[in-house]
Amino acid sequence: MKPNVLKAGALKPNGLFRSGSTRVLPGFGLSMGISVTFISLVLLLPMTGLFGQLAGLSLAQYWAIITEGRVVASYMVTIGAAAVAALVNAVFGLLLAWVLVRYSFPGKRLLDALMDLPFALPTAVAGITLATLYASNGWMGRLLEPLGFQVAYTWVGIALAMAFTSIPFVVRTVQPVLEDMPIEVDEAAMSLGATDGVAFRRVILPHLWPALVTGTGLAFVRSLGEFGAIIFIAGNMPYETEITALMIFVKLQEYDFAGASAIASVVLFVSLALLLAINIWQGRFIRRLHGGKG
């Protein structure tokens, strides 16, 4: 710590924002102002609206809404499917990132571009496509059904739709880290006698770990909120294949705005807590790699 800097800041009433004379990088005031305004309009204002809706509920009412049996069942379905989707994506996203970074092959650019498709595609399109494919008379469904796998209208279908919409999060967070990792590190491990498996487990994976956890976490959080891609394939049977986002939608259709907000706030808190936890954990890990005290 530098006590003298702190003291200088403390002497000025607006030490944090008024340091224009000592700051070398220009534009802090303007860029910070625009950022805060933008975040307020796009993020904070709608959220305030959400909490405004909640204000109409008593705590007991709030609790009753969010712990209603059908809603709780939807949490289970959503979280369970999202967890499976995130784990599947962690494995295959890592593999895809690996293939995209470490090898060169014809069509690599195309595959790279395809990775972003789930981001760009309207989720309803994805949902309808998946539902058609995996319905019992669809291309895939027809093959899987005789084997005893039912995908459409089960939680497997939900997980599949979630995995589809969230795979880019894993690929796109792991890819740059893998690109930054010098190939010599690999070679060093091998020259020391490590087999491919050992080198991957003890050298490469720990290196990618923070990015992989972040990407998987983002994929998980994204899956919690996914709606469009899932409702077409989920079947939406109460207590069985209803997701939380659908519960919010149902409340809205019943003009129960307060109820919808209550359920939405649960999703929001869970997502926020998870993102925050990942951020803190990752910060600690990265400090260690970059030479802080760890």
Partner: protein, 364 residues
């Protein structure tokens, strides 16, 4: 362990990186591979390590460590230690874990016990003077310290040969000097066979028992630093090993002329190009009977034990560089713009057609 390369060549696609190369490195020798970038020195080192495979077409060369044919042995089984230019440390592991890595990944039947590993790692850390840093992470160390960790890590597995790829290239001049001496001492102490790559002539000459000079995927000369400097095999080696001044002109009746410069040479008539080392030039106030080379001083820079003097003249395409002793510098009272004469103590000449021609250094 001795290293023997027989007819090793390498193509990357259609570009030839290495012409068929033969090289014998004796047990306990410290050999430098020296050359400009693109000369194939790193490729050769990586082939020895097994990180790159040599051509198998049209025919396959051979790599022997002692009597062991390692041509087709994977890098992890070659028993080499490799030190990378940018250290390539495992950043998520402490210094201790980095050094212990090679021991910990050994198959169970060869792996030393935990206590033994600990003892060996600390012995190595002591050797590289980093025993107090065992629990630090690489990012908390300076470049020189990181390279020492990387060296300890490579030596931990008791490799047959130690290979270093521009080991000091990423470090600043002072640290580089220290590490160089330290590596030389370490080598003399432990007596392992090692090969290192460098593009720095001084480093190669100072550190190596023998230097392999390479250019364009070819070995130009393999010799001790002393021989290399005194008897370069060809013009490339001569020019690459130090600063060179050129004197080009027509020889008639044993006198080389170039503008108003004249120099007595013992050569047949014709066009000639002579090469002169900066320290082989003497600066004098009046021309001699043998040499009339008028020049103007354009810059003087005292560097260490000598003074570097830059010289220009109408008859010179490129300025000359002379290095003289401080005593001479003071005696002549050199200043910029001063007009002087050069008397070469020695000059060198290589046949023009063939850069691989044997040397004919002679005294003027």
């Amino acid at each position: 362990m001795s290293i023997r390369l027989q007819q090793i060549s390498k193509h990357f696609g259609n570009t030839r990186a290495l012409e068929p190369v033969n090289l014998d490195i004796h047990e306990g020798e410290l050999v430098g591979l020296l050359g400009p970038s693109g000369s194939g020195k790193t490729t050769l080192l990586r082939i020895i390590a097994g990180l790159e495979s040599a051509d198998t077409h049209p025919r396959s060369g051979k790599i022997l460590f002692g009597d062991r044919d390692v041509t087709h042995v994977h890098v992890r089984d070659r028993r080499i230690g490799f030190v990378f230019q940018h250290y390539a440390l495992f950043r998520h592991m402490s210094v201790y874990e980095n050094v212990a890595f090679g021991l910990k990944v050994m198959p169970r039947n060869r792996r030393p016990s935990t206590g033994e590993i600990r003892a060996r790692v600390f012995r190595l850390l002591e050797m590289v003077k980093l025993e107090d840093f065992a629990n630090r992470f690489p990012a908390q160390l300076s470049g020189g310290q990181q390279q020492r960790v990387s060296l300890a890590r490579a030596l931990a597995v008791k490799p047959d040969v130690l290979l270093l790829d521009e080991p000091f290239g990423a470090l600043d001049a002072k640290v580089r000097q220290d590490l160089r001496r330290w590596l030389r001492r370490l080598h003399d102490e432990l007596n392992f066979t090692s090969v290192f790559v460098t593009h720095d002539q001084e480093e190669a000459l100072e550190l190596s028992d023998r230097v392999v000079v390479m250019s364009n995927g070819k070995i130009e000369q393999i010799d001790t630093p002393e021989t290399l400097y005194r008897h370069p095999a060809n013009r490339f080696v001569f020019e690459f090993l130090g600063d060179v001044n050129h004197l080009e002109g027509k020889v008639q009746n044993g006198i080389l002329t170039c503008g108003d410069a004249r120099l007595d040479v013992d050569l047949p008539d014709g066009h000639e190009e002579l090469l002169l080392r900066p320290h082989e030039l003497r600066l004098i106030e009046t021309p001699t009977a043998h040499a009339h080379l008028p020049v103007t001083v354009t810059a003087t820079v005292p560097v260490g034990a000598e003074v570097r003097v830059e010289l220009e003249a109408d008859w010179l395409a490129n300025p000359w560089l002379a290095t003289i002793r401080h005593a001479d510098f003071e005696r002549l009272g050199l200043t910029r713009g001063q007009r002087l004469y050069v008397e070469p103590r020695r000059w060198h000449r290589f046949a023009q057609q063939s850069p691989r021609y044997s040397p004919s250094p002679s005294t003027a």
